[in-house]
């Protein structure tokens, strides 16, 4: 079992995503933060699942990158944000990539579309040949 370290409030933490084990670490770090943030169990599960999908995309499609996570605050509401960044090939057709079941090869095609449904905020910044940044936030209720 790989245990993720606790993160002080407000501080952002960056994790490399370069192997399958890093994807496991990413899940565990996001879970630690989701618990710290006191997200409900269902919301924790949704956020960790979304993070797992996005971290795998960073590794598999983006040829590796980083995940930056931290607790965030907006008008007294607390949340967890996670940013997945790579300098891979980018996504040529974002609408297509966000279609349920669409994969450029090998996957289930549910990672991006699923992560969007499972989180409260979801943003993608991508450019062909430069890379992709996906940002998600889950807020407490």
């Amino acid at each position: 079992m790989i245990t993720a370290p606790a993160v002080p409030e407000g501080e952002q933490q960056t994790l490399p995503i370069a192997s399958n084990d890093d994807v496991v670490r990413a899940r565990q770090l996001v879970r630690t933060l989701a618990q710290q943030c006191k997200l409900s169990l269902v919301d924790q599960t949704k956020l960790v699942t979304a993070a797992s999908e996005l971290a795998r995309n960073t590794l598999v499609h983006g040829n590796g990158g980083t995940m930056r996570v931290g607790l965030v605050d907006k008008g007294g509401r607390r949340g967890v944000s996670a940013v997945f960044q790579d300098t891979g090939p980018g996504i040529p057709d974002l609408e297509l990539a966000l279609t349920d079941g669409w994969t450029s090869g090998g996957g289930m095609g549910l990672g991006l579309s699923g992560a969007r449904r499972l989180t409260d905020e979801f943003a993608i910044d991508t450019e062909v040949g430069r890379g992709t940044v996906v940002t998600v936030v889950k807020w407490t209720r």
Binding site: V42, T49, G107, M108, G111, R117
Partner: protein, 125 residues
Amino acid sequence: MSERIPVLRIGDVLLVSIQTDLEDQSVLDLQEDLAERIVETGAQGVVIDITALEIVDSFVGRMLATTAAISRILDAETVLVGMRPAVAITLVELGLSLGGVRTALSLERGLAMLGRAGGVGAGRA
């Protein structure tokens, strides 16, 4: 480094209990191991216990669905047991319904569903 998940044999049922958060290669290894063990043992049933799993993403979800399909072709029935409510809610929202996979709430019920539990008093579902 990928770790191997033990596959136990109880009568003609194979039992796998996934105890840790698995990296993707271990998930694929497990799928292969199970297929080999079904043929090797002539098992009629496979029970996969995911009580300990805090999440099931599309990669693990696909492995579960594929394992069920492979075992069916190899003449064994697969039952998935112990899925947490939060995991079920999340899986559906993710877009995976696991339609082709039989499920039971507990190991006992899963074994009973297969109709050949090794334990006393277990009967046909």
